[in-house]
Amino acid sequence: MPLPVLLAEAVATEDPAARFIRLLTVFLLAMWVGFEVITKVPQRLHTPLTSGSNAISGITAVGALVVAGALSTASSTLLGLAAVVLAMINVAGGFVVTYRMLEMFNPKKK
């Protein structure tokens, strides 16, 4: 059987409710880990934390690449490509700016 058919069946056989609960579990656990890890970040690093987390929210680039690369319809491809550009601005800008800020905190350089 060709790959798409296999994939479609694999997705179709998972109960939609079960799939939702699987993702919800991931969501809540990750949220919990986030609270635990981030409450330990000191105040003086809050600006790099904001810009760094900002860069990570650009993860939506993954979704954008997949939906644009599927070439499903003209509109979905164009919307997806626009999303790739915007998300990559977010990713690159966020990481570069965070690095720039943290370098200033780095005493070795001086």
């Binding site: 990750a30 550009v85 800020m101």
Partner: protein, 484 residues
């Protein structure tokens, strides 16, 4: 193992790297490594995405050009982002972060929109084996339809809210005055009702894409009307909140395309934004609802004349330099006004001049000093102030009693002792820096005008306070000259 399993494994690795990156951000020594690990996680996730079945199939059907097209789009975005990040000055960080945030939110909206368009198209294509799955996800009230609606809404609010926040922080003339029309509450309520109706519409009729785009338009309007009334001091809260929204939008997009790395990364960012929002609200003694719906907040007009009458002592650079010459321990309290005057380098010169004379110098940083969380630390770090000297409020407050001179530059409400002593004050209970306990307090300020809370500051009339009326940067430079 199927290729999908390898891809999922790569996503898992990326998610772990994000968590480690956040963990390493808890110390300035490891934070740079954290950034690199975060970026590595992002790179792994992006490369893994290129091996997802839909992309592999397009490449199989049409050759390499779909990949080239994606690469070009990614490079274009990355180039724009990196250029912006390298050019922006450190004082403009809050605007820059707001803008980047907005792009993230917009990208999530477009992902949901594109996925909706492609799923609707697939569902009507009987020949395609994926048609059944697509049709099933378009049924009312599925994970797909609910998540699509939420992504559209949160993403649109994030994008437009961030643009307005950018305009305000950049001090564009159009955003100079906060929008205080009393009818705004009715407009917001109307928009919220409309939004809920449209969310319900998308959930029940996901195959009608027009409803989704209407929701995006109304969400955009809501983003604007919710952010416009918020005043300049409350901006740190807004930035944190929008940061949180952009994460939640990405997580919701993860539910749309059934992708766990989006869900994990999105919820980490969502959590981080929520924590910072709570910290900021606490430090400003305001409730989140007060910030969001209170507009300019307390506008109680209390006359300063009774408080200040005849008691304010003013001094010039020479006189203050003499006081400083006799000091062993000096604490500098920089505030929002210092960021506006861009006097951080001048302050560093002053600290150097004092240290040359053997005086110990520390900086007391209030959590809301600056225009975003931790902004003052970045500004002082840029001026080469070693981070060991930047002390947090709870850490340095007990030391003011043994401080000879506290120099307050461009801060007002965060050093107002009324927060501690006067239970009827609008800022009663707000955590403040206890500078009034220092032997001498020097306040550098242009005039006796009240701070953002609109109330007089008894500190200015205290016996141990010297007011130095001048523009922040010039005042400090004069002081340095007088010391030498």
């Amino acid at each position: 193992m199927s290729s999908q399993a390898w891809i999922n494994l790569a996503y898992l690795g990326a998610a772990m790297l994000f968590i480690v990156a956040f963990k390493l951000l808890s110390s300035p020594r490891t934070a740079v490594r954290g950034t690199f690990l975060g970026a590595a996680g992002m790179a792994i996730a992006i490369i893994a995405a290129c091996f997802e079945a839909p992309i592999v199939q397009s490449v199989a059907a049409r050759g390499a050009w779909p990949l080239l097209m994606l690469g070009a789009a990614a490079l274009l975005g990355g180039g724009i982002g990196a250029t912006m990040a390298l050019r922006y000055p450190m004082t403009g960080m809050p605007q820059m972060v707001a803008l980047l945030n907005g792009f993230g939110g917009a990208a999530s909206v477009l992902v949901a929109g594109a996925e909706l368009a492609s799923t609707c198209n697939l569902a009507f294509c009987d020949s395609d084996p994926r048609a059944t799955t697509a049709a099933a996800s378009l049924l009312p009230w599925t994970q797909f339809s609910i998540a699509t609606a939420l992504t559209g809404l949160i993403g649109a609010v994030t994008f437009w809210g961030s643009l307005v926040a950018f305009g305000k922080l950049e001090e564009l003339p159009q955003f100079k005055k906060a929008w205080t029309d009393p009818r705004r509450h009715w407009i917001n309520i109307g928009l919220v009702v409309l939004t809920l109706l449209l969310v319900w519409g998308v959930c029940t009729n996901p195959d009608r894409t027009i409803i989704f785009w209407l929701l995006v338009i109304v969400g955009s309007a809501l983003g604007v009307t919710l952010t416009l009334p918020i005043g300049g001091t409350d901006m740190p809260v807004v930035i944190c909140l929008l940061n949180s929204y952009s994460g939640l939008a990405a997580a919701a997009a993860g539910f749309v395309i059934d992708n766990s790395v989006l869900v994990i990364a999105g919820s980490l960012v969502g959590a981080s934004g929520l924590i910072l929002t709570a910290i900021m609200c606490q430090a400003m003694n305001r409730s989140l609802l007060g910030v969001l719906f209170g507009g300019l907040g307390t506008t109680a007009v209390v006359s300063g004349e009774d408080v200040y009458a005849g008691k304010v002592k003013s001094a010039g650079a020479e006189e203050i330099a003499m006081v400083l010459e006799g000091a062993d321990k000096v604490v500098i309290v920089p505030g929002y006004g210092l960021a506006v005057a861009q006097a951080q380098h001048a302050v560093r010169e002053l600290a150097d001049a004092l240290e040359e004379r053997g005086t110990s110098v520390a900086y007391a940083i209030h959590p809301v000093a600056g225009r975003m969380p931790g902004h003052m630390n970045v500004l002082l770090a840029e001026a080469d102030v070693p981070y060991e000297k930047l002390r947090e409020m709870d850490d340095i407050n007990p030391e003011f009693a043994e401080t000879d001179v506290a120099i307050v530059i461009g801060a007002n409400d965060v050093v107002n002792p009324a927060a501690r002593t006067d239970p009827s004050s609008p800022i009663a209970g707000m955590p403040i820096l206890d500078v009034d306990k220092a032997r001498t307090v020097v306040v550098v300020k242009r005039s006796l005008s009240p701070g953002f809370a609109g109330i007089p500051n008894p500190l200015f009339a205290a016996d141990n306070t010297l007011m130095y009326f001048a523009d922040g940067k010039k005042a400090i430079l004069d002081l340095v000259a007088a010391l030498k």
